[in-house]
C-alpha cells in the first residue's frame, strides 16, 4: 500500500495545508493540484509580464516553509505547480537550499503548434512522474499533467505497473480524481454539510493498493468527513461520459464499487481500457476586455427603472457587447432596504480596451441623472482582459513527454 495525500485543489487553496498534511500523520507522497483552465490563463499573463514566472508562486512559498520537513520525513512531494514554467519552478526550489533531489516533467507546452494562443498545453499522463519518483526524486514538479496523474504516477512507480495494467491504472485514476480537489472529498462544498463537522475539513488521503483499489481517508483528528456520500460527491465533479478519458487509460466510472470503510470509503472494481490515440490540449487566448457593474434598483417600478438606465447606458456607449440581467431579488413591502432591492447586472465584452474603460465613466456619469435611488454595488473598474478557453486534440507523437531526473538525465517517456 502507498499512502498518498493531497494538500491543494487549486491555485489559492489553504496555504498551510502542506504543513498540516506533513505534520498530521504518516504519508509516502504528498500531492498538490494548482492548475485549472482559468489558472493557465492567469499564469499565461504572469509569463507575459516576466518570462521567469508562469508557475504557482504559492507552492514555492510552501516549499520554503516545508521542504526540509518533507525530506526529513521521507515524503515525496508531487505537484503540477510548474504550470507554464516547471523548469523555472525547479530552479527556484533549488535555491530553497535543503538539497532536495528535484525531478521535472516537461513537454506539455505546445505553443509552437498553436502560435495564436497565449497558452497551449497538452494534458500529459503519469509516466513522467513515475520516472522521476523511480529515480529517487524528493520533489517532482510538472506542467500540465492531468490532475489524477499526480496520484497515478507515484503508485505506478511503487507497484511497477505496466502501461497496459488498465484496471490498476483506472483504479488509481479514480483515487486521483477524488483527491484532486482537496477538501471537496472530505466534506467541503457538500450538500449534506449540516450532518457533518464542515467548519474546517482536513485534506484527503488515498491509500492505494497494488491492484489499484484504494481507501479514501484523512488524517486522524482533522475536521470534515470521508464517507460514501462525500466521495460520491467528488466522483461526480467535472465529469462527462462515465468512460472517463485520460492520457494513460480510460477509466469506467460506471464500474466503480464504493463502500464504507472504518476510516472512510473504499474504492474497488474499477475497469480500465486503452486510452485514445490523441491527447487533449488546453488552449487559452485573449478574447478582449471586459467590465461590468451592478445597479441596485430599490422599491417600486423595478422594470421601468431597469429600462431607463439600460436605455441611457446604451445610448451613451452604444449597445454592442453589453449583456444585461435583471435579478428580481426584491420583495414587495419589504422590511429591510436590501430585500426591497433588485439587482441589474451589466457586462461589457469588447475588443477595444478604451471602450471597456469608457464603460466605467459612462455608467458613473449617470449617477445624478437616472432612476430614483441610483447606486451601484461597487464602482466599475478600468476593465480587464479576458480569456477564451478552447480544447484541441493532437496525435500523441506530436508531444514529447519528458522526465528530467534529479541527476539531470532526460528521459523521453
Amino acid at each position: 500500500m502507498i499512502r498518498i495525500g493531497n494538500a491543494s485543489g487549486f491555485y489559492g487553496d489553504r496555504l498551510g495545508a502542506v504543513r498540516e498534511m506533513l505534520e498530521g500523520g504518516d504519508l509516502d507522497v504528498l500531492t498538490g493540484d494548482y492548475l485549472a483552465e482559468l489558472t493557465m490563463l492567469i499564469l499565461g499573463r504572469d509569463r507575459m509580464r516576466d518570462a521567469n514566472l508562469g508557475y504557482a508562486k504559492t507552492f514555492l512559498r510552501q516549499m520554503e516553509d516545508c521542504l526540509g520537513l518533507a525530506v526529513e520525513g521521507g515524503v515525496t512531494i508531487v505537484a503540477n505547480a510548474g504550470g507554464l514554467n516547471p523548469l523555472g519552478l525547479a530552479a527556484a526550489i533549488e535555491k530553497v537550499g535543503v538539497g532536495a533531489k528535484i525531478g521535472v516533467v516537461t513537454g506539455d507546452d505546445l505553443r509552437a503548434d498553436f502560435p495564436e494562443s497565449l497558452t497551449a498545453n497538452a494534458y500529459l499522463g503519469a509516466w513522467g512522474i513515475a520516472e522521476c519518483v523511480r529515480a529517487g526524486a524528493d520533489v517532482v514538479v510538472t506542467g500540465r499533467v492531468t490532475d489524477a496523474s499526480l496520484v497515478v504516477g507515484p503508485a505506478a512507480a511503487r507497484f511497477g505497473w505496466a502501461r497496459d495494467d488498465w484496471d490498476a491504472l483506472a483504479g488509481a485514476t479514480v483515487a486521483g480524481h477524488v483527491l484532486e480537489c482537496g477538501t471537496q472529498a472530505t466534506g467541503g462544498n457538500y450538500s449534506s454539510f449540516t450532518s457533518i463537522d464542515a467548519d474546517r475539513p482536513g485534506f484527503p488521503i488515498a491509500e492505494v493498493h497494488a491492484d489499484g483499489s484504494s481507501v479514501i481517508t484523512k488524517h486522524e483528528g482533522t475536521g470534515g468527513a470521508v464517507t460514501v456520500d462525500t466521495v460520491t460527491a467528488q466522483l461526480l465533479y467535472e465529469i462527462g461520459d462515465p468512460a472517463y478519458l485520460g492520457p494513460d487509460v480510460v477509466s469506467h466510472f460506471d464500474t466503480i464499487t464504493l463502500e464504507p470503510h472504518e476510516r472512510g470509503a473504499r474504492i474497488s472494481g474499477v475497469r480500465g481500457s486503452p486510452p485514445p490515440d490523441t491527447l487533449k490540449v488546453c488552449l487559452n487566448s485573449l478574447g478582449g476586455f471586459r467590465n461590468g457593474t451592478t445597479f441596485v434598483l430599490c422599491g417600486l417600478d423595478v422594470e421601468a427603472k431597469a429600462d431607463l438606465v439600460r436605455r441611457q447606458l446604451e445610448t451613451a456607449l452604444g449597445p454592442d457587447g453589453l449583456t444585461w440581467t435583471l435579478a428580481r431579488t426584491d420583495r414587495a413591502d419589504a422590511d429591510t432596504e436590501e430585500t426591497a432591492s433588485a439587482l441589474l447586472h451589466v457586462t461589457i465584452k469588447t475588443s477595444d480596451p478604451k471602450r471597456a474603460k469608457a464603460f466605467s465613466r459612462t455608467a458613473i456619469e449617470l449617477a445624478l441623472g437616472s432612476y430614483p435611488g441610483f447606486h451601484v454595488t461597487a464602482p466599475p473598474s478600468d476593465g480587464t482582459p479576458f480569456g477564451v478557453y478552447r480544447a484541441a486534440y493532437v496525435p500523441r507523437d506530436r508531444v514529447e513527454h519528458q522526465a528530467v531526473l534529479p541527476d539531470g538525465k532526460v528521459i523521453t517517456v
Binding site: 460520491t232 460527491a233 464499487t257 464504493l258
Partner: protein, 106 residues
C-alpha cells in the same frame, strides 16, 4: 409529497470549459429507481429553465445521474457573463426545486 429535490438528493456541479456538469445522487436503491425515472433530461430542463442542451448519463453503481450541459458557460469561466460562470451553484439550485417525492422515500 411536494418537497425540494434536495430533501433526498445530493448534488455537485462545476465547469469544463464552456460546458457545465451536474451530478445528482441518492442514498438507496429505491430512491435511485425513482430518481432515474423522474429526472429525465427533459425534466431537468423544466426544473432548470436556463439549461439549453442536456445530456444525461446513468451511474447506477453510485446511485447517481450525471448531466452535461454543453455550452451553458459560453467560452469558459474567464469569458462567461453568466451569473455563476463556473456553474458552482447549479447543483444547489436543482436541489432547491420542488418535486413530487414518494412518501416511502422520505
Amino acid at each position: 409529497m411536494r418537497l425540494p429535490l434536495g430533501t433526498i438528493a445530493g448534488a455537485r456541479s462545476g465547469d469544463k470549459g464552456g460546458d457545465a456538469n451536474l451530478g445528482v445522487w441518492v442514498r438507496t436503491d429505491e430512491a435511485y429507481a425513482w430518481l432515474a425515472e423522474e429526472l429525465t433530461a427533459a425534466r431537468l430542463k423544466e426544473l432548470l429553465p436556463e439549461a439549453g442542451e442536456v445530456v444525461r448519463y446513468e451511474l447506477p453503481n453510485l446511485r447517481a445521474l450525471n448531466f452535461v450541459l454543453p455550452g451553458l458557460l459560453g467560452d469558459g469561466v474567464a469569458s462567461s457573463t453568466r451569473f455563476d460562470p463556473q456553474a458552482k451553484g447549479l447543483g444547489e439550485w436543482l436541489r432547491s426545486r420542488h418535486v413530487d417525492i414518494p412518501e416511502a422515500l422520505l
